[in-house]
């Protein structure tokens, strides 16, 4: 990985400046391949966050080469409303060819915020999907949220970054359910992060003898980390509960949830502060099938920082071995790369989000 250092450019002529940047940055050197398959707009919370995001974008460019547009607040020298810089991220592709992608950084003074959406729209590379990676601390109360979201094809948030999970999930749901004829699809890195846990929970019920227990779940306990809202509800806990509820057809009535057969399901969400935000610590399910057989299903992380999860099933008439599954750590680049591979609505996610917003409320 190498990088051409940021060069200040004239905001009014950024495209022209980019062309010049490419000519000058690599003049006389070896040939480079300028690659662009996606637009990634990154809304950063501050300058430190922009530096962290730049490092991630550089790594991401190896998997998803594209044009990155970073939008970051500027706290110093704020006479001009916007300042722009161009830089490049390069890596060696197969066969040793140098593959480079460009990054445009827009520094925004407080009085420049209103200029951002149109400036960003003009900078999006044509014929490539546009993704908004939202890293700022709030959603609906941020003036940039809606204009930038609607400028893109897909919005990728990370619910673990928001202090109020209920508000965040509600804002994401509102965007996803927008009546506008053209609105972005919505994704959440936390949802991707939970994919492994959803897979583990689903695996309890893959074997045909276990499937009758799904319809007979009567108690669900979920222990997760991250910022918690009312009653200790984390976004991770709400998502997992919402996913189960939406897949299994549970209905909410009053403050309780009911299975399709009308029996109640007790859903208990625990907040575990010391673990990393969004991490799931324990999922415990109790069920009874239609013949009265009882079963418990537990998936438990082996220590706060461990990647190993112990699975244990206790069911009358079945004796699968307890086992450990290794959840290999996936950093933000890996999660984001997964999200960039999807630009359409995910109906399973939307259904889970809708129920999750109810659990978090």
């Amino acid at each position: 990985m190498s990088e051409a250092f940021p060069v200040a450019v004239d905001v009014g002529h950024i495209e022209r400046e980019i062309a010049r940047f490419w000519r000058e940055a690599f003049a006389g050197g070896e040939a480079v391949l300028r690659a662009c398959a996606v637009n990634l707009v990154v809304a950063c919370s501050d300058e430190d966050d922009a530096r962290a995001a730049t490092a991630l974008v550089a790594r991401l460019a190896e998997r998803h080469p594209g044009r990155a547009v970073l939008v970051t607040p500027r706290s110093h020298g704020a006479r001009e409303p916007l300042a722009a810089y161009v830089s490049a991220h390069c890596h060696r592709g197969p066969g040793g060819a140098k593959v480079c992608c460009e990054q445009i950084t827009l520094e925004v003074a407080p009085h420049g915020a209103a200029l951002v959406p149109e400036t960003v729209v003009a900078l999006l590379a044509g014929d490539c999907p546009a993704f908004l990676w939202w890293r700022r601390p709030g959603l609906g109360d941020d003036a940039l949220w809606e204009p930038l979201a609607f400028a893109c094809d897909r919005v990728i948030a990370d619910s673990t970054r928001f202090a109020d999970p209920a508000a965040a999930l509600g804002d994401l749901l509102r965007l996803a359910r927008s009546p506008a004829p053209r609105h972005p699809s919505v994704g959440d890195l936390l949802w991707v992060r939970l994919e492994r846990w959803r897979d583990l929970v689903a695996s309890f019920f893959d074997a045909p003898p276990m499937q009758p227990f799904l319809a007979g779940l009567r108690r669900v306990e979920l222990a997760c980390g991250g910022p918690a809202g009312r009653g200790g509800t984390t976004a991770a806990g709400a998502y997992l509960a919402g996913w189960l509820a939406s897949r299994l057809g549970w209905r909410e009535a009053g403050n309780a949830w009911y299975r399709p057969d009308g029996a109640p399901v007790a859903v208990v969400l625990h907040h575990v502060p010391p673990v990393p935000a969004g991490a799931t610590v324990r999922v415990a399910l109790e069920a009874e099938d239609e013949t009265g057989r009882r079963a418990t299903f537990v998936a438990e992380r082996q220590g706060p920082d461990e990647e190993a999860v112990r699975l244990l099933v206790q069911a009358e008439g079945a004796c699968p071995l307890p086992c450990t599954r290794l959840l290999r750590k996936r950093d933000d680049v890996t999660l984001l790369a997964r999200e960039l591979e999807r630009d359409a609505e995910d109906p399973v996610y939307l259904a889970a989000l809708q129920a999750a917003a109810r659990f978090a409320a």
């Binding site: 592709g93 695996s203 893959d206 003898p209 099933v313 290794l326």
Partner: protein, 513 residues
């Protein structure tokens, strides 16, 4: 490719909603090279990726006497050496706890009685649910005995409460049509065709699967994919290795049986087939079989023009001197086994009538490369001069390995006042566009067999149709007499000059991959 309907509603929308049933995998030939180098590393990676079911067991069966612990220890070393991912101690312990071993001669009925009792015990104690996946990783000579003994022991039926029994058969399936039929009949005596999974590991390669995606998921190529626009097709499967100590096997096989009958014909089928009506296994395999049936049978009168057989002599590969084929261990000094074969074949069907497909495969070539290249017809009238350069036709090349990807070569204008043109290449490479490492072919194939998805496996009629062609080819060669010339090529070259002449007669030349 074809997924089953998810039975578990929690699987809906997951990246792969196919979940394998609980079951026991029984590997015959578990102490052998294939198990150590490919199968156990694949199983470990599947376990690591959580593709294996919650309740499963791996039972090794082989002649070599050893206990469960020694088997697990041997496999540990094998996985440590050959897995694409590093070994995690905790996970390995768990995988090893599901391994067991039965030492028996493959002919011995007592061994199968023990296997039966052992599998029933696993059903009771490990929840393997009576489902069985038998993997024949033995030399082909052992296949019939294993199948017959399995049947006689009643092991071709699912265990108590079981839903399925499947059998995976490694290549080669026979060495000619008669032996393939005989083996298939033996297998089908106990295992119905839907339970038989014949492996050609080429079909497990991502790029081979991508041939269908490329053709049938994109609207722009298929209209050109026919005799009207394609001048000819070249399929190359080149190896830089020699026989690597397998001289005895190779003397019996040769390049035609070892590569053409299986890998190359699979590439030919995927390149030439019509769009299937669905991604169901039989829908795809039906179309592949039609291609094989459309192959024009070789004729003695034309075989000398339509084929070249050759053997490598001493040369230089990878910067070192290597011996000729006849100097390899266990190879006869007067061997006439071909280490290189080039064929010109035609498909007598609507789409490809008159379009030659040139196939070549050889050992000890300059590099290991597999590719399919479609060379398009020239423009009807050349407006632009080539400035003394030979016209270069448009070529679409699908690289199977290594550097997997697709390139399209076309002419572009050289900047400047003169109307000069120059060929340029538009290139897609997996490694650049997808940063993730593709799984090993055996991972995909083992998982599909466990899931019961036969799409990437060879059906009986495919095997027999390909052997029918190869038998006719050998008959045509034999008709040339025992003194018919066997060409030579230096190790490290792209084959004999006779192969160049074969194309030159048609006004064409081999690509340099």
């Amino acid at each position: 490719m074809a997924g089953r309907e998810p039975r578990n509603p929690l699987r809906e929308g997951m990246s792969d909603d196919r979940a394998p049933d609980a079951g026991a995998l029984v590997i015959f030939g578990a102490s052998g090279d294939l198990a150590r180098r490919k199968l156990l590393p694949a199983l470990y990676n599947l376990y690591l990726e959580r593709w294996l079911p919650g309740a499963f067991a791996i039972v090794g069966v082989a002649r070599r006497p050893m206990g469960d612990a020694e088997f697990a220890s041997t496999m540990h070393a094998a996985v440590a050496e050959h897995s694409r991912r590093s070994l995690d101690a905790t996970l390995w312990e768990e995988l090893a706890s599901r391994m067991s071993y039965i030492a028996t001669d493959f002919e011995d009925p007592q061994g199968y009685a023990r296997l039966r009792m052992h599998l029933e015990q696993l059903d009771r104690e490990r929840g393997t649910g009576g489902n069985r996946l038998y993997y024949l990783a033995t030399p082909p000579s052992a296949f019939p005995a294993i199948v017959l003994r399995l049947g006689e022991a009643g092991l071709h039926r699912a265990g108590p409460g079981g839903r399925w029994v499947r059998i995976v058969v490694e290549k080669p399936v026979g060495r000619d049509l008669a032996s393939a039929r005989e083996l298939n009949e033996t297998i089908n005596r106990y295992f119905p065709e839907r339970s038989v999974f014949r492996i050609d590991h080429y079909l497990g390669k991502e790029t081979v699967q991508n041939l269908m995606v490329f053709r049938f998921a994109n609207a722009i190529f298929e209209p050109l994919w026919n005799r009207q626009y394609v001048d000819h097709v070249q399929i190359t499967v080149a190896e830089s290795l020699g026989v690597e100590g397998r001289g005895r096997y190779y003397e019996e096989a040769g390049a035609t049986r070892d590569m053409v009958q299986n890998h190359m014909f699979q590439l030919l089928c995927l390149t030439a087939m019509e769009p299937p009506v669905s991604l169901a296994a039989d829908a795809i395999r039906d179309e592949k079989v039609k291609v094989l049936h459309a192959l024009r049978p070789p004729e003695a009168a034309r075989v000398a023009e339509d084929s070249v057989r050759a053997q490598y002599v001493a040369g230089v590969v990878g910067g070192r001197r290597v011996p000729g084929y006849r100097e390899e261990p266990a190879v006869a000094a007067d061997s006439r086994t071909e280490t290189y074969v080039a064929l010109r074949v035609f498909l007598d069907n609507w789409r490809w009538a008159g379009t030659p497909f040139y196939l070549r495969s050889g050992k000890r070539m300059p590099k290991r490369v597999s590719e399919v290249a479609l060379q398009f017809r020239d423009v009807p009238h050349r407006l632009f001069g080539t400035g003394g350069r030979r016209p270069v036709p448009n070529t679409l090349a699908v690289r199977i390995q290594p550097d997997e990807g697709i390139t399209l070569r076309f002419d572009a204008k050289v900047p400047g006042p003169q109307p000069r043109i120059q060929p340029v290449t538009m290139e897609f490479r997996y490694g650049t566009s997808f940063g993730q490492e593709p799984p090993e072919a055996y991972e995909r194939l083992l998982l599909d067999a466990w899931l019961g998805d036969a799409t990437l496996f060879i059906r009986r009629d495919e095997v027999e149709a390909s052997w029918a062609f190869v038998d006719q080819l050998f008959a045509a060669w034999e008709a040339l007499g025992p003194e018919a010339p066997l060409a030579e090529y230096p190790a490290g070259s792209w084959g004999p000059s006779e192969a160049d002449v074969m194309l030159a007669r048609d006004g064409r030349q081999w690509r340099r991959p």
